[in-house]
Symmetry: C2
Subunit: 330 residues, 2 copies
């Protein structure tokens, strides 16, 4: 199998290389593609050093799979060339997620959709993946009606630049707590701050990021009527996203049944004993493939409502790991 990573030098691209290696995926040749300015860089895969090449329209000939870790515009530009080269494009951008011809897949939830692909498979939004990993076991017991979610999103969602911006600001402020830090990747300083806007504004005053959980959730879980009201907030954390959610189902569920379903669900780790101080936390999920779920309790408002808190690594299960799992399921 010949595989390329398009956007290999970014946070998600680098993680894809690591995931391919960790999971021991049989690859005859790995090709690393990036923009002109990254071409020539050397990156390690297994015991090999691979030279990054500039991505061009004719870069995809003879490839079987292209893992995409670029922005929408590059994904849109290269997709037709990938497809016409007969490679499958597993794309982490949001360019094709709502395309009816493109399956949107979290393998633990809807891997059967992969077979409907016509050359492109979309990887969902990071917060959506982490939330749905916690919601899917509940949905197995009773269809989910609606979800109210508030996110606690790490800076890695804005790439390597977001991560170094937080680190630099923290360093500056720990030397001089009145230092005037200048934001660049984010609109405002993120150290010691929260930014309750991720993505552009929509007409309904939600952000595009906030609407993804409903739009992508409907498609992934095959729940066309699903409603999600979501508030996305950037927090000063490096790479794990967390979500506080109320999940309301058609039928009334039992907490113990939900917990046993969580225990059976691949990719989920149930961390839930409030009295023993066991609950999901970013420090525990950071750089791991698992999504932790906990704080499971009966909601105080909705008869059929369940509250929970979940946490997962944004770069891994929120992006690279999920894409590589799609590849494994091809």
């Amino acid at each position: 199998m010949k595989v390329a990573i398009l956007g290999a030098t970014g946070a998600v691209g680098r993680q894809m290389i690591e995931c391919l290696e960790e999971r021991n995926i049989k690859i005859d040749e790995l090709i690393l593609l990036a923009s002109e300015k990254s071409a020539g860089k050397k990156m390690k895969f297994k015991n090999e050093e691979i030279v990054v090449r500039e991505a061009k329209e004719d870069s995809f000939k003879g490839l079987d799979v292209v893992l995409g870790a670029t922005e929408n515009s590059y994904a849109k530009h290269f997709a037709p060339h990938i497809v016409s080269s007969n490679a499958v494009f597993i794309d982490n951008s949001s360019a094709f997620r709502q395309d009816d011809e493109v399956p949107l897949v979290i393998p633990e939830i809807n891997k059967e959709d992969i077979k409907n692909n016509k050359g492109i498979i979309a990887n969902p939004n990071c917060s959506t993946i982490i939330t749905l990993m916690a919601v899917a076991p509940i949905n197995k017991l009773s269809k989910v009606d609606f979800i109210i979610a508030s996110t606690y999103q790490a800076v890695s969602g804005a790439g390597i630049g977001g991560m170094s911006e937080l680190k630099n600001q923290i360093e500056e402020l720990s030397k001089d707590e009145n230092a005037k830090v200048i934001p660049n990747v984010f609109k405002y300083p993120i150290a010691h701050n929260l930014i309750p806007k991720i993505g552009d504004a929509c007409d309904n005053l939600y952000t595009k990021e906030e609407m993804k959980m409903q739009n992508e959730g409907r498609k992934i879980m095959h729940l066309p009527e699903l409603k999600v009201s979501c508030t996305c907030v950037r927090v000063p954390i490096l790479r794990s996203h967390s979500i506080s959610a109320v999940v309301v189902t058609k039928d009334k569920l039992n907490i113990d049944d939900i917990k046993s379903e969580m225990l059976k669900f691949k990719g989920v780790s149930l961390v839930d004993d409030l009295n023993k101080d066991l609950y999901p936390m970013p420090i525990n999920t950071c750089n791991k493939d698992i999504v932790e779920v906990g704080r499971i309790r009966k909601d105080l408002i909705f008869e059929n409502g369940i509250d929970l808190f979940c946490s997962g690594d944004q770069i891994r299960k929120g992006a690279a790991t999920n894409a590589v799992e799609i590849l494994e399921n091809l």
Copy 2:
């Protein structure tokens, strides 16, 4: 007027001294009381240096008002002595908040309850104050049925110790990102982390902190049927709490009406223009008395639902400022 601060050397006590000075409250004598180990310390009030005295049962004779900034056990211990000295006890602990004889007051919302006091007036929980400041203007237009809230709570909620723990951990980790930080005030490291448990566990698997928003909200807003499902999360931020909330009212409301009500509401600052990147943020509310409210939008699930995000300083409006405002209204 003779005023004492009980617990003057803690984060809230110190802030009370500052608030009394800033607001130019006419005080003939300010007495600073604390535990034995803090007695003898000198603290500044206006141009005076005041020596902290050890709080004793007979410390309250001749006083008019005692502002309490201690833990529950001290509040409970000293309350009868304060009341029998004919001073009014404005208590920031949670010891008396649910006592039927004790008004629980946010002056902008229910200052008329102050007159029912029998010597004790309770200051509400910090997250509750900041959330209700955002919810009260909506409640003026139509009674609130229920609230779904997720909090982003600063470390100042755990006092001066919580603040120095975050600062120290951040410093350690910015020198060596693999440093093993040892938590003390918090159960786990808080730098680069979230802790989704504040307060002890209740039988219903909510925490005591989470139940306060419903229990205190009912009493303050005179809404005995109010339901609140809340998830409280500690975030690595120094002193401003933020809350993401869905507020559902009896009647359907108009966003413009809500915004004009917010603009009229004392203590609230409407910061709400998503396209211009204006929304509430901890860096803007830190060390200020105002509660910022924004991200106001029609909820996607509930016909009568409004989503919002609010932020306010935990030590000020969440504690000291509110107590001093109660004093002003006495």
